[in-house]
Symmetry: C2
Subunit: 217 residues, 2 copies
DNA sequence: AATTGTGAAACACTTCACAGCC
DNA sequence: GGCTGTGAAGTGTTTCACAATT
């Protein structure tokens, strides 16, 4: 279960701010206003100011925010000031794509081991990462002090993997399997379910410009 | 831009209900209560009843919901009563994984063409789908009356692809590229940004059980 | 003059609680 | 007696509007 008074949705916006700030920084922009950040992120400037203000007063009135300072603060708030290790369970199509994607960017959150239970996959590599047997899960998670797990296994195996990850010390899960994981409420679970995304998108494609309501027909 | 008075978040829950109902139906359960659906989805029973009630009175007081009836209704509400075609732009690691995943399940939303601009990828196949050149995008989208697009190209190419999809008649986008797409506000855009998910997850792994607040230190 | 930081107001969404119906 | 459907209350989140600051 998350935190005190910072809206959960605000936390999800912080990495967006961080990305924009890093782009600005690369372009040698050293100060930015909330209005300019709003233009680049699509969020309102008030929302951006409020989100940042939950954590302190990082800006200068009449001036704006120092990109350097704000990057530093956001990194610290998100826990990205040190590199964050994560484990990936599942080396199928999706798992391998996720691993490659993550390793391509010199990411602050980094997958450090991949597990699978398919003997054909164990011992293979994705980029320079070994695919290890699931039986090594507990040992590796504990040894590497991993607190983040990514689940990309079929639904039938996902609950067991979640339980084992949590038992080994993982505190946050990114779950791609299409089911409702049951874990201690203190554990943060973010689900990404591609079928659900596509199916809910279908609703919006069927809504015609001149909106007719759905009641019971 | 979505609809009138149905909360946007409610639409995202409908496919979850649909999945649970289909599981029940396969197990020959013909009637289900909102409490049982709550148990299986993790949403509250009141929320489920309210979500369904936005669209009509589908249940029977004292009894529950007929799984058959509710499946039929949800399919119709979501626009899944006919098969929904989608196009995928980007045949990289992620794009191919998405396509395979989608094609594996006999999905109601189905990717019907893949586009890429890499000559090495054009002409290859993912399962039984051709990868076509992006220059064919407009023609194919119009010809097949596609209203849903999935963007899995690098950020630098994503805006152009979005603009071209929308110009060709696409009304909803699932965007995996890490940027804020600018499209007509009538178009529904769902972003899935893996880096952002991982970075916001990091926040929760750094929150220790005995919660200390972040203020300005 | 410009821009932040923030209470107050508005809006959105969820939960409560119970009447209505089977 | 059990379960839906729904106004009303409660909670969460966003927007407004402006004082404070440079």
């Amino acid at each position: 279960m998350p935190d005190s008074k910072v809206p959960n949705v605000a936390i999800k916006r912080l990495p967006v701010y961080l990305r924009v700030l890093e782009d600005l920084n690369k372009a040698d922009v050293s100060v930015v206003s909330s209005v300019e950040m709003a233009r680049r992120t699509g969020f309102s400037s008030e929302q951006i100011r409020k989100d940042l203000a939950y954590f302190g007063a990082f800006g200068t009135r009449g001036v704006g925010y120092s990109t350097d300072v704000l990057i530093e603060r956001l990194r610290r708030i998100l826990g990205l000031n040190r590199q964050v290790p994560a484990v990936l369970v599942g080396a199928g199509n999706l798992g391998r794509a996720l691993a490659r994607y993550n390793l391509e960017r010199h990411a602050d959150v980094r997958i450090v081991v991949i597990f699978d239970n398919d003997p054909l996959k164990i011992g293979t590599r994705v980029r320079d990462l070994d695919v290890k047997p699931v039986s090594d899960l507990e040992r590796e998670v504990v040894r590497r002090k991993v607190r983040m797990g990514i689940i990309a296994v079929p639904a039938a195996a996902a609950q067991e993997m979640a339980t084992r990850l949590v038992k080994s010390g993982v505190r946050a899960l990114l779950n791609f399997a299409p089911l409702n994981l049951r874990v201690d409420p203190e554990i943060y679970v973010q689900n990404i379910d591609l079928s659900i995304e596509l199916q809910s998108l279908a609703y919006y494609t069927s809504q015609v410009p001149g909106d007719r309501d759905f009641d019971d027909r």
